[in-house]
Structures are given as structure tokens and as C-alpha cells.
Symmetry: C2
Subunit: 751 residues, 2 copies
């Protein structure tokens, strides 16, 4: 018996020690899994070049006072042996409800490693790797098992060990905001740049480490490899940040001194040796108690993703994150549709008009005097003096509806329609909105009737002020109201600090909240476009009614001091990896001082704005400027492109791309042979040789070409542009020049 | 001009310096308000004897990161001058929907002091005192004002300066539980007794100071004054604890060392000098961030209450806390009714049967596989093996319905009817119950139909497991289901740690949650009986559908090692001050080992149990023992009293009372001339001379007298009792003996 034991042990030893390797379908990526002693680790190569050096995987668990009753506290860091490994191949082509292409191929080789950790109880952990030709996804899976039913995550300790001091486009890691301007630097420069990156005037700063960064993180190696780190399918789990171990790092998760509003997590014990410099270690967003997650088996982490290529265009055409998400969970998707819209919005952002109805109240308590029937909004605004600046009024909304109807825009967003805007932000008000009661000058029934009579819908707006407790209480009534009046899309917002107090925008519970809203909305056939919510992770595949998010620095910042000209040449590499952004482009009057007291100005040319409808893919596209600007003789020709450009596609070709420099993409309109091409460049301008080899051979097309004038410049001459028309055919070439901060847009209509 | 200034100043000086005094309507209480320098203070006397020595009033405010935008941080502690004072008188008699008496007189003299605090901005604070013949209520009022629109409370610093080292009946101050056994000690002994008081085996310990105690706090002075400190109308404000300054106190709000699960608040700066020993200072329950409240003016604190008398019976007949609450907020109260009920409950508490349906699952995820339609409980329990111990099954519930119908009990509570009990507690499970889906052996429609056919209703049970986020998501559906099937009362529960994590049972947000549920229930015509919720503060006057709470150590602890025999002689002085308790009396088979493996036993005699239906006033009274016990020949005669005793009254007379010793009360049945008398005593037994002078003169009554047998004893001989019948008239006297841990009960039926 004893001899048999040793025989089995030695038979198993090679299995334990040997590295497990899989290759991507084309063979150009190789994933290696092994044990470093008893710690799991993985490595990734691309065409024989290292992408991720051997990096550890694991989680620190938290001690819970209920531990003796089944809550575990032994870390899932080491002490592992390989129980078994399984490999498989998957290949399917699926059709998204909306997207950049009609078909998406999901083709990967998979390695599933089952690990056993001996200890007080025996525990099983599965590491699942999916290797695509464009990258890697892997996740932790926690099967149902006797000795691991519930656990609390102190932090996830997934390492991404870089091969060198790469160039990175990064945002400071923050638990509550992702609206910073992207920083471009070497990894070794993050620490020195961090303070400036954080000190950008937003009060919601909640940073955790002077080398903490957000995902999706885009990098470029010295030898021309592009690497993107992000996550897919973040469901009921905290959003992941990355903490860089650089030469000065002495411990993980240090508190950042001097950031006055910084959240102070308890310092994590350095239970594992510090990984080598230029290693990223995952850092999850905590809840109010500093914990990162409460888990019940069976469960799993989101996928951790590494997209890699030596061609930057592959970063943008990758479907890896969508593919790692679950298929569509909705039986009926007939009610989901890409949408172009305008809205009563930009004039408030710029400061010309207001969301609130009155200025005479120091503060508003909706329903202060309403115990009997428990209505939040019994406060009667008709008794107050209007400030005369309230934009969401009947007359203005009707003008927007008329404008939308005339120009083929399907919906009109109206912000500030509902009571509560007098003191909605940063007051720790729980009962801030009821999502039910319009201001006296907004005729809910009449305006919807008017819109419908014109073939237009109103788009709902739910600013929650981050009081999620309040929003969830009203959610069912709010969606039912939308159904009653004929709204089918809602822009929601999460400005300010989370209520319940102490929670963060990207925590497990908040991520659950956002998805809860999307799921409940689906029951009501409502499309959701959530602003200030967690950065997306491809969940729009599973819930295609999640048609958009903000979750990054949008066009609004052009009114708050401006976005750098290269901003929109970075976002598709970073923020857009997880899903579409409601960037709200189309500001053709770039000088705000021409019509308001706002001295900020848009850091693009007019053609740069047009290009965004193509380079910033979204099924939801706003024509964000004022109708009166679009109708101005100098801008109306450019607006024609916004009228013409669709937002639903059968095919997309990324023709040129370099992070923070330029992006050129051609897209074929859904169900047609019409193509639209957009190109956006940074402050240096760009020359494009546009080869029309994507057109159908033998067919004739009418092209309308919107280009920056030769002397155009995003600062000095932003509104100089030319519109030229010509007949084009497959194989022809167009030489197009983008001005500094500019771009071009081309519509190519099949005859 | 300068001279005029000094003239005005000197004219105002007397106003500032002079004490403001009011007396109670009878003149026996005197309230004095004055400024101690610039700090407000108050003092209270009763019949010329000091009750509260001069004590400061004020609040510490927290610094908020949004302070520059209107959040204030200057404490409301000092720097005050008197702006004006107003006195008034109020006298009304009102009728509660249910209560101990048909009429309640609300008669007080009021002093409202408007204080002005100069500083960065000028701020107004109103202190309102209402002086009754049975005590004092006062509160802070924060009017709407330009320089104080929003503020965060670091802590309230209301002082109650005692005149000496009183005897107190206290519970350790705790943010999450109030189910401890009451301690009786001198104030000076609290610190030494604290550790033992806390170390009682409940994992939810969240204490904050070794001299922290809960309210209602009952005290007795050396010279025979009874003083009770509590609060009234706690709405959208944190529950108040009291921290005793004793001779060892060096700072307020110290962390208790050595209590392993203790919450760790940041130590509060000692901004004000420490008050003298034997002063209680208010200490509010924090949220997850350690803050005590987020306020928006106009707003107000709850009333702080001081009930005082030299006769302990006045403590029990006082309506001061109800009077300080707002009148009924419900237009229609016709659907609210006192209720006697039985239920499928005690056998699970004792451990004989189970709430859960199956034992074969290590953990349960309701709706694990249900993205498509988002139903939480798609998990099919029909596929699991029943454990055979599930009590809430069709057969048993039908037997309880039959029993209720036979014995005049209006409702049958059924716990464990709904899926999720397999792993419901202490797991940090957010999605723990759906309040919708019955276990396979509970026929929701059929059992309700059966009950209704017998003139009985089922009583709903909603254990939330303190996952309030989950409960609020299901609340509307859960109440709608009750309406659909004909339930009109719900027992809700808040066992375990609050989700959102880090929050506490008695925080501002949780207090808002409990009231939100009561308000929403009222819309559905549902009565609420919330267990483990905040201790009540008289809100049942405003929302009479709040028919009960637990919020103290109930009968269930008789199965967990027992309640001390004096326990129920204390609760009416403490817990019941704020509202009725669902104590669930009526355990006539006091030896649990006779029918289960539970070796605990009830620390009263049978007659002691009967007495509780009178001494523990509640409009909701359970007959908590098993039907088969009530039907046993030895216990059925005693059960007759439970059948007979009503739970709705026109009048109540407290005949004898001494905290922790004995309570005797006579009550007249609603709309009749029948009287019921109950007396409960501690472990020492008690002799009562019951004068029947409350009966109508000249009328003849049939009395049935349930007394302990001469050799009865709560431990050695608990089930020995006699039932005697006699004819009685007004003016007669009955001499009745209560055994140690016993009592008596008398029904006096008018001919």
C-alpha cells in the first residue's frame, strides 16, 4: 500500500512540475501555465516575443467574524497542486444585435487548470484561459465545494509582469471617477506624474496608490508591440484597477499621501513577496468597509484580458472582450435599435441655461410636507418664481422635436425635466429626485404626444445624483412612467458621491446596481445609457439594451477647459474596449464664447467633430450642438454629414491607427453598400492615403468628402472646411489632409 | 450712535444672562434654560428636587469635502446668543387607533429658545422644550437659513447630568443589537460590568465605549425618584445611545479594547471640556463611514425624553413619548386591528424542526441560472431532497389554521414558507430571499384559501437577513403578493449584519429604511411587526400600522439559555416606553426537554406566562406555544385565559410597579366593561392585595383567577397553578400570591 502511494506520487510529479502550454488558433500566441513552487503563474508570448513574463495568480481573502461558520480566510495565493488540466477548442460566429460588424467570430483554444489547495480544508480553484489570435482572457472560477462556500476578498493579486518600461496611456486609478485626461508616459514615469494627473479639479478623487492606474490600459513596447490590459464580463464583482510595482515600490496598496480626498484603505499586509518592477498587480475597488467582494460559490471572477498585436489597428478591431461575455440573455431584442438623437443639454453644460426651475430656494426638500400619501414631490414648484433659465420648457422642447423630425434624428433627450435640480449635487441628499414629477413648464403628456406625432420619441433622463438607494426605490415606477408615455431609452447619471455613504462607483455592490437597472429596464423594453457608471466590460453582448455608457471624459469637458486634441485618438484604444461611449460629438460651433459667457473652446476642427461619428463607435450618437448652430449657413453643410451618417453597421475596417496620433476607419452601413469613412488626428495633423479597395468592385459610388481647409487648425481656425463631391470606384485612392486637431469624413453612397 | 449701541447691549444683557423657566401644567416639574457663557444648557426639577443638573446641549459637525459649497463644519456647540424665547401651552385629548387607553391627554407647557451663532455665517438653532407633568421632551430644530442648508453630524452632544450614582437598568450600547440581558447596577459600576454584559454570545456585537448604554434607560435615585431617558419620533436620524462620563472617563467615544468584533469609530476630538462624572452624553449610531447623520434644513432631531416621578407606576402609564410624536398620518385606519395569533415558529426556535427545506445543498444561489427572465428563485427546490424537518408544510399549517379557528386566534404566522433558508444568515448574501417563492410543500394559494374559509388569515413572514438592498428591491412585489393572497400583516426580521456592508441596524439610513417599509406597507393596507429593527420611539402614533416590534430580548431566548425571571418586570420600564413589543408569550410547557432535545427552560411559571398578556402591552399578542401543548389536559385550563384575554383596551390602571421586581396592571376591554388583571414578579415572588375599586360600582362580575399553586416555582415547579372562579364587585379585595418567577392573571367579566 505504501509502495503504491509512492508510485502514484511519482507518476503525478511530472504533471505538477511541467508547464502547460496552449497556442492560439493561428499559433501566433502562446500561453504557458505552471506552478512557481505552489503558486500558480502564467506567461504569454506573441510571435515568439514575450508579452507577459511569468506572473502569479491568486487572491487574498479577508478574515470575517463569521469565519468559524464557513467563511474562509486562508488566502488563495499558494499551497496549490495541479489536480487536472483540460484543453479544448471553440469556434463559432455570432451576430450582435448591434455592433461594428454583422458577424463576430469567437475562436479560441482553452486551457482549464484545476488546482487543489490543501490546508484546514481542501479547496478547489479553476483557472480558465482562453487564447485568441488577438489576445488572452483568463479568469478564476470557484466551484461549489464543501470547504469554500462563502468568502470575502481582501484583494485580488493577479500579476501582469511587463517586459520593460513601456509607453502607457493611463488614467490614475480612482474608485469614483474616470473623467481625467489620459496621461502618456513610460511606466517608470507614472509615479512622478501621478500627482498632476490626480489634481484636476474634480472633488470625487478617491485614489489609492501613486502608481495605481485604470483599465483599459493601452501600452506600446519599445519594439512596437501593442498591449492592452482590461477585463470582460464584470458581473457582481468589483472593478479592477492595476497597481504598478516600480523600483520605488516598497509595499502594495500604500495610501497616497497628500491627496486630500483620498480614500484610506487599511494597508494590506505584504503576505506575498513583492513582484519585480514593471509588474502590474490587480487592485479591486472596495466597499465602505474596505473589502473588495463577498462571494458565494459557485462563482467566478471577470475575465482578465490581454489584447496584443504588432499592428495598432488590431487593438481597435479586436472583439476579444465581447467574445468573452455570455451570449445575449434577452429572448426578444426587436425593441432595441441604434439611435441618433439631439437634446436639451449642451446649452446647460455651457452654462447658458439651467437644469433647475427656480433660484429662490436655498434648498429643496421634495415631499417635506407629505406624510399622508408618501409622495416625494408634493412640493409645488408652481408656487415658486421661475428663474427664466430653465431649458426643459415646453417651447424649447417642441423646437428640438421639430428639429429632430426635420433632420432624421429619432430621439430628443431632455435633461432637467423633473423636479429636484435646485440642489441635486454634493449635498448627501438621499431623497434627491423622484423621476416622476415634471417641472411646471414641462408638459409630460403633451410633449410626448407632440413628439410622437412627428415620428420622434423623447429620451428619458434619470440623474440619480449617485443616491442609488433612492433610485432603486423609484426604479419600477420610473420605468413604468416611461412605458406609459412612450419613452424607450434612458440616459442615467451618477454624479457625486455614492449613497449609501462610503461606497464607491466601481465597487461590487455598485456594479451590481448598474446591471440590476439594465436588467429591470430590459423587462420594460428600455434601452440604457448610463453616465458616470463603471467603465464597461462588454456586457452589452449579454444585455444589448445597454446601448451606451459615458464612463470617461466626454465632450462636456470641452466646455470645462477642453479635451486635448489627441483625446479621441486615445479613447478607442482604452475606454471603448469594453463598449460604446456616449461621447456626444458634433459641436460645430467650437467657440463657446460666440454664444455664451463660457470662454472654453472645443479642441477640434469641425471636420474633427464629424469624424468622431465613425472613429468613436456607438449605436447611440448625439448631434450635441444647438439646432440653431446646425442651421447656420456656415455650418449647415457640415451638419449634412451628421444627418447622413448612420449608427448601425455591417462591416468596419480600421485603415490607420496609432494611439494618441490618428485613427481612420471605414464602415459599411447596415443592410446597404454605402460606406462612411472617418479619420481623426491629434494636434500634429495627419496625411491619409485612403485606398478605396473596400468598395464593391465594378460599382459606382457618389462620395461627399468633408475635409479641413488647408489653413484649418483646432485653435486658430477650427471652422474652416471644404465639402467636395466626386464619383469613386473600388481601387481608387484619395489623398486627404487632416489639420492639427482635425480630421475628415467621407460618405460613399452606392448608386 | 455709539451710545445707542451700548444702550441696546445693556438692554439685551438680562435676556442673555437670565435663565428661562417654565413649569409643567401642575407645577411639579420645572425646566430651566440658560446660557453657560455661550453654551446652551438646561436643567430639570421635580417637586423641587433636582432631576437633571445643568447640562449642555449641542452637536459636533463633521468636516465634509464639499464644505466650501455649503456644507458647514463649525460645531453647534457654543458661540450662541439668545435671539428670542417663546412660551406656549397645549392641551388636547386624542384617541389612538389602538392603545392602552381610549383617550390620551397631551398637555404641556412649551418653551422655544431661538439661538443665534455668529461666525463665518450666522446660524439659527431652535431648542424646543415641552414640559409635561410626567416629564420633559426637547429637541433641536434647524430652520431653513442661508448659512445652514446641509450639514453632517459628527455626533450629538446632549448631556444628561445626573444628581448622583443612581441605580440603572441598562443594556450595553451597541450599534446592532439590543437582545442582551438587562444589567442592574449603580452608574459607577457600569464600567466594571460592561465586559460581562457584552460577552453574551451574539456575534453582532458593535459596542463603542465601556460606559455606553442604550435607551430607554430606567434609573432610580437613592431617594426614590424614577427617571427614564429615551427619545421620541426618531425619523431620518440615527438612534441615540448614551455614554456615561464616570470618574475614569478621559475622553468621549473611546474605543473599547478587547471586544473583538467592536466597531472602531475614529476617536472624536475632545472639543468641549468633559462634563462632570455621572453625566450621560448622547452618542448616535454611525453609518459605514463613521458619520452620524446627513441633514438638510429645515429639519430637527428626535425628541430627547426624561420621564420622571416618585411613583414607579407613573413610568408605565406615561404617554409622554406617544404625545411627542406627530398625529396619525394615515387617512384610513379601518384596516388596522389588534390581533391575537399563533404560528409555526416555536418548534423551529427550540430546534425540533427547521425553516429550511433541504439539507443537501452546501449553499443555495436563488436564480443562479436565470439571466433570461431575471427571476431570483428559478432554482427548483423540487429537485432537492427534503430534510423532513421543514415545519412550514401544508399539513402542519392546516393544523395551525384549525387550531386558530377553534380558539379565536385571528392569524397564523408561518416562518420558513419561502425559499432561501438553507444558508440565510451570516453569509453576506445580498440576494438571500425573494419573498415570493414558496417551498414545494407550501401551497400559497391553497393554504390562504383554507385559512379564509375558516375565518382566519395567514400572517406573512419576511426575514430580510438584514440585506436591505435586496429587501427594498422586492418590497413592492412582496407587498403586492400579500394583497393578492389576502395577508394583512407581516412579521419582518433583520437578523445578521446589514447589507450594504458597514452600515448598522440603528443608523440614520436604516432608521429610514424601517420607516420606508412601514410607509409602503400602509399604501398596501399592511400592518408591520419588525424584529431586530431599531427600538421604537412612539412612531406607532403616526403610523399605527406599525403594530409591533421586537427590538429586545424576546421569549425566543428562553430556548437559548433563558431569560432572567425579572426580565419581563424590566422591559415595560425600558423597551416598551417607545412602543409595543412582540414578546411572543404563552409558553405553557416550560420544560423544552419534555418534547425536544433542547435543555433550556422557561424562567417563569405558567401563570407568569399568562400575566404577560397584560403586563407586556401589545396590540399584537402571540400564543406562542405548540397547539398540542395548549390542548393538553394539564395546560388547557390555563390556555383558556389566553383564549379569553383581548388585546385592545379602553382603559389601563397600573396598580403596582417596581423595576425588576413586579408589575400589576388592570385593563378594561375595548367597548366593554370586562376587566383583565395581570401581575408578574421576579425570582422573589410577590404578594398582591388587589383592590377591585376600578370596577363599576353596583355591578356584578364573574372573575376567573389564575394563580400559582402555593408550591409553584419558576424552576422547581413551574406548571403548578390553580384556577378559581368567584363573583366579585367593586370595592372588594383579592389577596393573591405570586410564586418566585410567577404571577397571576384574572379575567373579570361583567354580567
Amino acid at each position: 500500500m505504501k509502495r503504491l502511494f509512492w508510485q502514484i506520487l511519482f507518476a503525478l510529479l511530472p504533471l505538477c512540475a511541467a508547464a502547460q502550454t496552449i497556442q492560439s488558433p493561428s499559433g501566433q500566441l502562446t500561453l504557458t501555465f505552471s506552478l512557481d513552487g505552489t503558486r500558480p503563474q502564467y506567461a504569454l508570448t506573441y510571435k515568439g516575443r514575450d508579452v507577459i513574463l511569468p506572473s502569479h495568480l491568486g487572491l487574498e481573502l479577508a478574515r470575517d467574524k463569521h469565519a468559524s461558520r464557513g467563511m474562509e480566510e486562508t488566502d488563495l495565493i499558494d499551497g496549490f497542486a495541479i489536480e487536472k488540466t483540460e484543453t479544448s477548442t471553440f469556434d463559432e460566429t455570432w451576430q450582435p444585435v448591434w455592433g461594428e460588424t454583422r458577424d463576430i467570430r469567437n475562436h479560441y483554444n482553452e486551457l482549464a487548470v484545476t488546482l487543489r489547495q490543501a490546508g484546514a480544508g481542501e479547496r478547489i480553484l479553476v483557472l480558465r484561459f482562453r487564447l485568441y489570435d488577438d489576445g488572452l482572457g483568463f479568469r478564476y472560477e470557484f466551484p461549489s465545494q464543501p470547504d469554500l462556500n462563502y468568502f470575502l476578498i481582501q484583494d485580488e493579486r493577479t500579476e501582469f509582469r511587463m517586459t520593460g518600461d513601456h509607453t502607457a496611456w493611463w488614467l490614475p486609478g480612482d474608485y469614483d471617477t474616470q473623467e481625467q485626461q489620459t496621461q502618456e508616459s513610460r511606466l517608470s514615469e507614472i509615479r512622478a506624474r501621478f500627482h498632476d494627473a490626480v489634481n484636476w479639479g474634480n472633488s470625487s478623487v478617491a485614489v489609492f496608490s501613486p502608481t495605481g492606474v485604470q483599465t483599459a490600459l493601452q501600452m506600446r513596447t519599445a519594439d512596437g508591440l501593442y498591449i492592452n490590459l482590461h477585463e470582460a464580463a464584470c458581473v457582481d464583482y468589483a472593478t479592477m484597477h492595476l497597481e504598478l510595482v516600480d523600483p520605488q515600490t516598497t509595499a502594495l496598496t500604500t495610501r497616497l499621501q497628500g491627496a486630500s480626498n483620498a480614500y484610506t484603505p487599511p494597508p494590506a499586509p505584504a503576505r506575498a513577496p513583492l513582484p519585480p518592477p514593471f509588474t502590474f498587480v490587480s487592485h479591486l475597488t472596495p466597499d465602505a468597509t474596505g473589502l473588495k467582494g463577498a462571494m458565494q460559490t459557485p462563482c467566478r471572477s471577470p475575465w482578465r484580458t490581454v489584447i496584443v498585436s504588432d499592428d495598432a489597428r488590431d487593438m481597435l478591431s479586436s472583439n476579444l472582450i465581447l467574445n468573452l461575455n455570455e451570449p445575449c440573455a434577452l429572448d426578444d431584442v426587436s425593441w432595441i435599435h441604434p439611435t441618433k438623437y439631439c437634446g436639451v443639454w449642451w446649452e446647460m453644460i455651457v452654462g447658458k441655461s439651467a437644469w433647475n426651475y427656480t433660484d429662490e430656494l436655498p434648498s429643496v426638500q421634495l415631499g417635506l410636507d407629505t406624510p399622508p400619501d408618501f409622495r416625494l414631490a408634493a412640493f409645488d414648484f408652481r408656487r415658486t418664481t421661475p428663474n427664466g433659465r430653465h431649458a426643459a420648457n415646453n417651447e424649447k422642447v417642441r423646437r428640438y422635436i421639430d428639429f429632430a423630425a426635420r433632420n432624421g434624428l429619432q430621439q430628443v433627450l431632455v435633461e432637467g425635466w423633473n423636479v429636484g435640480w435646485e440642489d441635486w449635487a454634493n449635498r448627501w441628499k438621499r431623497d434627491v429626485f423622484d423621476f416622476q414629477t415634471p417641472y411646471p413648464d414641462f408638459d409630460l403628456q403633451g410633449l410626448n404626444d407632440y413628439a410622437h406625432s412627428k415620428g420622434v420619441r423623447l429620451m428619458m433622463h434619470h440623474e440619480t445624483s449617485s443616491s442609488t438607494q433612492n433610485y432603486e426605490r423609484y426604479l419600477e415606477d420610473a420605468y413604468a412612467l416611461m412605458n406609459r408615455y412612450g419613452y424607450d431609452a434612458v440616459k442615467s447619471g451618477y454624479v457625486g458621491d455614492i449613497i449609501p455613504r462610503g461606497d464607491h462607483h466601481y465597487s461590487q455592490s455598485m456594479n451590481n446596481h448598474y446591471l440590476h437597472c439594465v436588467q429591470q429596464a430590459a423587462r420594460h423594453h428600455i434601452m440604457v445609457n448610463a453616465h458616470e457608471a463603471t467603465r464597461p466590460t462588454g456586457l452589452c453582448r449579454t444585455y444589448p439594451n445597454l446601448v451606451g455608457n459615458e464612463s470617461a471624459r466626454g465632450t462636456e469637458y470641452e466646455a470645462f477647459g477642453g479635451n486635448r486634441p489627441d483625446h479621441t485618438c486615445i479613447l478607442p484604444f482604452t475606454r471603448l474596449q469594453g463598449g460604446p461611449m456616449d461621447y456626444t460629438p458634433g459641436i460645430l460651433e467650437t467657440q463657446l464664447s460666440t454664444w455664451s459667457d463660457n470662454t472654453s473652446w472645443v479642441r477640434t476642427t469641425v471636420c474633427g467633430q464629424l469624424a468622431l461619428y465613425l472613429t468613436m463607435y456607438s449605436p447611440l450618437q448625439m448631434a450635441a450642438d444647438l439646432p440653431e448652430h446646425y442651421e447656420r449657413p456656415d455650418l449647415a453643410p457640415a451638419f449634412q454629414f451628421i444627418r447622413d451618417v448612420p449608427c448601425d453597421w455591417d462591416d468596419s475596417r480600421y485603415l490607420e491607427a496609432e494611439p494618441a496620433d490618428y485613427i481612420t476607419v471605414a464602415r459599411r452601413q447596415k443592410g446597404s453598400d454605402n460606406w462612411f469613412v472617418g479619420s481623426k488626428c491629434d494636434e500634429n495633423g495627419h496625411q491619409t492615403t485612403l485606398k478605396l479597395d473596400f468598395l464593391q468592385p465594378g460599382r459606382t459610388y457618389d462620395a461627399t468628402i468633408y475635409t479641413d481647409a488647408p489653413d484649418a487648425h483646432y485653435q486658430h481656425n477650427p471652422k474652416a472646411y471644404n465639402v467636395t463631391r466626386k464619383t469613386v470606384r473600388c481601387g481608387q485612392t484619395l489623398k486627404l489632409t487632416s489639420a492639427p486637431g482635425g480630421g475628415f469624413a467621407v460618405s460613399i453612397i452606392a448608386r
